[in-house]
Assembly symmetry: C2
Homo-oligomer: 626 residues x 2
C-alpha cells in the first residue's frame, strides 16, 4: 500500500515548506523566487475487476469523498464492493497541505498503478517508499528524534554557555528551575556567535522554563542571565532516516577525520531534500544540490533523496523562470539528471522527467542568440561563481553548460527511444561557435566573453571545458599550461567551484592535487576545531573572522553541504569506484592504494557495495550485490 498524490506535488509542497524555513534575527525569510504550486484538488482512480466481495477503507488528507461507480462515501468508512467490474474514485481537496490518500484493503488498495487527475491531465500517481502505512501520512516528515544534552556548561560574562559538542538541528528547551523567570536564549554554530547577543543569528527572548523553541541549527547556547547551578537545557535533534552505506578508514588520521566530518556535515544537510546549510539558507539550491547528488552516490546511495530534490527544484512542467532564478542552476539541473541516470539506471524516472527536461530546454533555447549563445534576460541571474569575472557579454562558461545540456538531451532521448530531436546537431553547432568565439589563440585559453573586447581569462570556463569534455587532449594541455597551472590566473576560492575544479583534476588523474587540497583546505578547518565543514574557509583569517561572510559577522554557515565533497573525491578517485554503464551494470573499481599504507573501506554501488582493504601491503577487493 502507498499513500498517493498527484505526481510531483509531494516534492513541490514540501519543497516550498523547506524554502519558507529560513530565519534570521527575528524575522522569516521566504525564498525570493517564483515557487510552483501543488494542486489543491485532485481525483485518484482505479478500475477493478473483483472475483469476490472486497472491503476497503480510504484515509485522506483533506476534504472529499470516495465514489464507487459514482456512489459517494465518506473517508474512514468501511466500504464493501461486490464482485464484478468497478471504478473507484477518490476526490480530495486541501488548500493548506498536500491532498493525498491511501486505500487499505486486501484487493482494493492504493498502489503506483492508480491514476491521479488534476482536472487537466490524468497521470500515474506519485508515491514514496517513505509512506507505505496509514501513519505517518505524507504531510508528516518521518524525522528520527534524537534527545541531546549539552556536553559542557560554564559561566561566561555572568551568564551560562552550553556546548552540545556537535551541531544540532532541532528544538531546544531551557530549564530555569523557576517558573516565574524568563530568559534570553542566544544560539551559535560557534561559541563566538552564541556569546554575541547583538549579532548572533538566532535569539529568543522571554523564554520560560520548559518551553520548546522552534527548530534551529546550533552547537552552543548562551543564557546571559542565571547561574550554572540552576540553569540547564536539552535539545531534540531531528535526523532524517538515511543509511550511511560507505565507510572509510586509512592510516592517515587527518583524512579519517575529514571523512567523518564530511559525513556528519552531509547527514545534517540531507532531509527530505538536499539543502545548502542547516543554519542558513536552508533552501534548496540547484547548484548545491548538483554537488550533493555526487556525494550521495558515494555515501547513502539513496536514489529517493535525489529524486525528491530533482522534482522539488523543477516544479511543474510549465516553466517561465530559472531555478533559484539562476540560469546556470537550470543547466546544472539538466546535467544532474543525467548523472542520476548513470548512478541508478532508472529509465522510468528519466521518462517521468522528460517532459520537464524538454520544457526546461525550450526555456533555455528561447534565450539564445543567432550564434546559439545563451544570454541572461531581465530577472535572470548569471552566477557561475562568486568570483571576479568579465560578465560584459555572453559568457563562455554558460555556453559550455548549454552545450553539455544539448549532449544530455541527445543521450536521454536515445535512452528513452525518442526520435532524434536534433540535439546532437545543436551541440555540434554550439561547440564550433564556442571554439570560434571564445577560444583565444594568443592566450591559449577560453576567455570569459568576447563581446567586451577585454579577453579576460578566469579558470571557470576552462575548468568546465575539460570537466565536461568539450576539449580534447591538445587544448587540455594548453589550458593546463596557460591557465590551470598558471599562478598568474586567480585561484578558485569558493568551495562551490572548488568541487568542479577538483573533479576535473580527478578526471585528469591528478590525485596529488586533490590530496593536497584535502589536507590543506579541509585539514585547515579540522585544525580550527570544525565539527562540520564550513561554507567557505580562508586560512589567512583569524579568530572570529572565520565566521563572517556576505558582510555579516556570523553570516557564514558552518555546516554546508557543498563542503562535504571529500566523500565524493575519496570514493570516486582514491577508491576508484565508478559506473561504466548506467546503474552499475558494469562498473570499475580501480583504487589508488599507493596513497595508503592501510585501508578499510566500503563504497556503495547500486544494490550492493564494494569493500576495499589494504593491510600489510596486500589489497583485497570484494564486491557484493543483492
Amino acid at each position: 500500500m502507498n499513500w498517493i498524490w498527484y505526481p510531483g506535488d509531494f516534492e513541490i509542497y514540501h519543497g516550498m515548506l523547506q524554502n519558507f524555513q529560513r530565519e534570521e534575527r527575528g524575522y522569516g525569510w521566504p525564498a525570493y523566487w517564483k515557487m510552483d504550486d501543488w494542486r489543491k484538488n485532485v481525483c485518484f482512480s482505479r478500475d477493478y475487476e473483483l472475483e469476490r466481495d472486497s472491503r476497503f477503507v480510504v484515509h485522506a488528507q483533506g476534504v472529499g469523498y470516495v465514489a464507487v461507480d459514482g456512489r459517494k462515501y465518506s473517508f474512514e468508512r468501511d466500504i464493501t464492493c461486490p464482485a464484478g467490474k468497478h471504478k473507484i474514485e477518490i476526490y480530495v481537496g486541501n488548500m493548506a497541505a498536500l491532498p493525498c490518500a491511501c486505500v487499505e484493503g486486501d484487493v482494493i488498495h492504493s498502489t503506483p498503478e492508480w491514476m491521479a487527475d488534476d482536472f487537466r491531465e490524468c497521470r500515474a500517481v506519485g508515491y514514496s517508499p517513505l509512506y507505505t502505512e496509514a501513519e505517518p501520512n505524507p504531510n508528516q516528515i518521518p524525522w528520527r528524534y534524537v534527545p541531546c544534552k549539552p556536553v559542557s556548561k560554564r559561566e561566561v560574562n555572568g551568564g551560562v554557555l552550553f556546548d552540545f559538542g556537535r551541531m544540532i538541528n532541532g528544538s531546544l528547551k531551557i530549564i530555569t528551575g523557576d517558573k516565574a523567570q524568563t530568559v534570553t536564549v542566544a544560539y551559535g554554530e560557534s561559541e563566538a556567535e552564541a556569546l554575541d547577543l547583538k549579532w548572533c543569528y538566532y535569539k529568543e527572548e522571554n523564554t520560560v522554563d520548559g518551553m520548546w523553541l522552534r527548530k534551529r541549527a546550533f552547537r552552543y547556547v548562551y543564557i546571559p542571565e542565571g547561574s550554572t547551578e540552576t540553569m540547564d537545557c536539552e535539545a531534540v535533534h531531528e535526523e532524517f532516516p538515511l543509511e550511511v552505506r560507505a565507510s572509510f578508514h586509512c592510516d592517515d588520521a587527518l583524512l579519517n577525520r575529514i571523512w567523518d566530518i564530511s559525513v556528519e556535515t552531509f547527514r545534517l544537510c540531507s532531509g527530505l531534500f538536499f539543502i545548502d546549510g542547516i543554519k542558513r539558507d536552508r533552501w534548496i539550491w540547484s547548484g548545491d544540490a548538483y554537488q550533493s547528488y555526487f556525494v550521495n552516490q558515494y555515501l547513502f546511495f539513496d536514489e529517493e533523496i535525489n529524486k525528491r530534490t530533482i522534482r522539488a527544484l523543477r516544479g511543474n512542467t510549465e516553466i517561465t523562470q530559472h531555478l533559484n532564478t539562476i540560469v546556470d542552476y537550470s543547466m546544472l539541473w539538466v546535467i544532474g539528471l543525467e548523472n542520476h541516470y548513470w548512478m541508478t539506471g532508472d529509465a522510468d524516472f528519466l521518462a517521468e522527467m522528460y517532459p520537464k527536461l524538454e520544457a526546461m530546454m525550450a526555456l533555455l533555447m528561447k534565450q539564445t542568440n543567432e550564434l546559439g549563445f545563451i544570454y541572461g534576460r531581465e530577472r535572470d541571474w548569471i552566477y557561475i561563481d562568486w568570483a571576479e569575472m568579465d560578465k560584459d557579454g555572453v559568457l563562455c562558461a554558460e555556453q559550455i553548460l548549454l552545450w553539455k545540456c544539448c549532449r544530455v538531451m541527445d543521450d536521454c532521448g536515445k535512452v528513452l527511444g525518442k526520435p532524434d530531436a536534433g540535439w546532437a546537431d545543436k551541440a555540434a553547432m554550439l561547440k564550433a561557435n564556442i571554439l570560434h568565439y571564445f577560444w583565444n589563440e594568443e592566450k591559449q585559453a577560453f576567455i570569459d566573453t568576447y563581446e567586451s573586447g577585454r579577453n579576460n581569462v578566469t579558470r571557470h570556463a576552462n575548468i568546465f571545458a575539460i570537466l565536461f569534455g568539450l576539449v580534447e587532449a591538445d587544448k587540455t594541455e594548453a589550458i593546463l599550461d596557460h591557465v590551470l597551472l598558471n599562478d598568474a590566473i586567480p585561484a578558485i576560492t569558493t568551495p562551490y567551484f572548488k568541487f568542479f575544479e577538483l573533479d576535473m583534476w580527478g578526471k585528469l588523474g591528478r590525485l596529488d592535487i586533490i590530496w593536497e587540497a584535502l589536507h590543506t583546505y579541509w585539514g585547515g578547518m579540522v585544525e580550527k576545531g570544525a565539527v562540520t565543514f564550513w561554507e567557505q574557509y580562508d586560512p589567512t583569517c583569524t579568530g572570529k573572522e572565520h565566521y563572517a561572510m556576505y558582510g555579516d559577522p556570523f553570516g557564514k554557515s558552518l555546516c554546508h553541504a557543498w563542503s562535504a565533497s571529500p566523500i565524493y573525491l575519496i570514493g570516486r578517485y582514491f577508491l576508484g569506484v565508478k559506473p561504466l554503464e548506467p546503474g552499475y551494470t558494469r562498473y570499475d573499481v580501480a583504487p589508488h592504494v599507493e596513497f595508503f599504507k592501510e585501508l578499510h573501506c566500503v563504497v556503495p554501488i547500486r544494490n550492493g557495495s564494494v569493500r576495499i582493504d589494504k593491510e600489510n601491503g596486500r589489497v583485497n577487493i570484494q564486491a557484493s550485490r543483492e
Copy 2:
C-alpha cells in the same frame, strides 16, 4: 490605509475556499475543476521621498520581513525612516492563506499606489474597501453575525422539530440541558427534509450540549431524541454586509411578496462572491454569477461583489480550462464583463481585466474550426441548458455567444483605446456563417446544429439571437411566429434559461409575458409557502416532489440566486431604469406605470437612486446623485 496583496489573489484564495465549502451527507465535495492558485510569496514595495523622519509599522499575514533600503526589520516593529529618498519593501510568504500586508503610518502607509511583485511580474497591488484597518485582515471575512432563535418548536414522531421561520446560513447549537446526552441533529431547508433522517443533506450525530456546529444552510432542525420541554437550540446566521439600495411596493400584494422573497434569496446567496445556492452547491458558477450581476445592479448596486466574483471566476491570466469547465460559462464571463462596464463605467477595472479577457478569447478562438465555429474539446462541457437539444455537432447557441464575445472585445478595445485587433471583422464573418449554416429557411428558425442533418429547433439559440441582437426585425418576427410563440416547440423549463427568455421578452417590450411569469412561476412558489426562491419550480409536482432534483429526494436547493431575477425584471422593465451610457452618465427612467395602481419604489443607479411613486393616478419621479 489598505491591506494589499498581489492583484487577483484575494479573490483566487477566497474563491477556492468557497468552492471547497460544499458538504453533502457527511462528506466534503470540493469543486471538480482546475482552480488557479494564489501566490505564496510576494514582495510589496514603494519608493518614498520624505521631508522629515517618518514612523511606520507593518502588519502582515505570513512569514517575512520589511526592508528599508535593503536593511531588514521584523513585522509589528516600530520603524523610523529618516528624511530623504527610501525604498520600502515587504516580503511575505504564506502557504496556507493569503500573503498580504498593511502599513500603518502618517506618511508611509499602504495604498493602491504600492506595487506587488510575484518574482515574475510587478503590478499595482490588489486591495478592497473591505480591508482598510489593521483588523479585520484579508484572511477574515467580515460577516455580520445575527443571533437567531427558532420561531416554533413541536413534537414530531417522538422528537423535536424546530422552525426558524427563515433560511439560516450559519452555525447552530443544541441545548439539551444534559451535559451527558448526545443527540442527532437533522437539518432541512424544508420540514420534510429535516424529518427525513435518511435523506436529509446535513446530519450531525453525537452532538453534545452547547457545541457549535459548522456553518450550514437550513430553516428546520429536527432532533429525533428528547422532548420539547428540555430541548432547545439557537443559531448564528452569517450575513455579508451589503446594503439593499432598492425598494419596491405596489398595490399587488403577490408581487410585493415576490420582491421581498427575491431580496431575501439574493441576500443569502451574496457573500464575498455570488454563489449559486446556500445549501447546494455553494460554488461560484459563472452562468449563475452572470445573472447575479444583473440582479445586483437593481438591488445592491455593489460594484465590489461583481469585481470579486469576476476575478475569482477568472483566476490567473494564463488559462487552459473553461470556467467551471463550461465553454458557454467562459463566454458569459466575457459578456458579463461588458455589462459590468455599462453598470459602472469603470474603465480601470476593464483595463485590469483586459489581459485576462484577451487570454480567454485566445483560448476560445483556439478551438474554432475553419468556419470560425467553436467546438468542445475533451473535458469541455457544452452546457447551454438542462434541456433536450441536438448536440451532435457545433451548436448555434454557442456560436451566438462567441459572436457576442467578439463584439464585446471590439467595444472594450475601443473603450481602452487599444489598436483594432480585428474583432469586428471576426464578428462579421461569424455572423455571416451563423446565418448561412444555422438559419433554416424552411423552419424560419435557427436550428441547434447543422452537422447532424436533423435540423432540430429549440428555443435556446433563437432566444440568444434576439437577446444579444444578432438578428434584425424581420428574422425576429419569424422567430416569434415559428418558435417562441409556437407551443409545438418545447418550453423553457429551467429558471436559469428562463432568465434569458424573460430578458428577451423585456427587450421586445412584451411585459405582459413577464407579468404572467412572475405571477404564475414565482407566485406558484409563494403559494407553496416558499420563504426563498427555489432552484426550480414545477407546478405539476405535489408534496415532497418539489424538493427532489438530480435524482435526489432533497437535491433541490430551496434558496437559489438564479431564482431572484424578479428584482432585475421589475427594476429593468417595469420600472424602466437603465443606463444609456456606461456608468449611468445618461440613463433612462421609463416606468410602465400602467401595470400599477399604486407604486412606491427606489431603483439604484451609479452613485444615486431613482425614486418612482404613483398614487391617485399621479406619477412622480425623483432622481438623486451624490
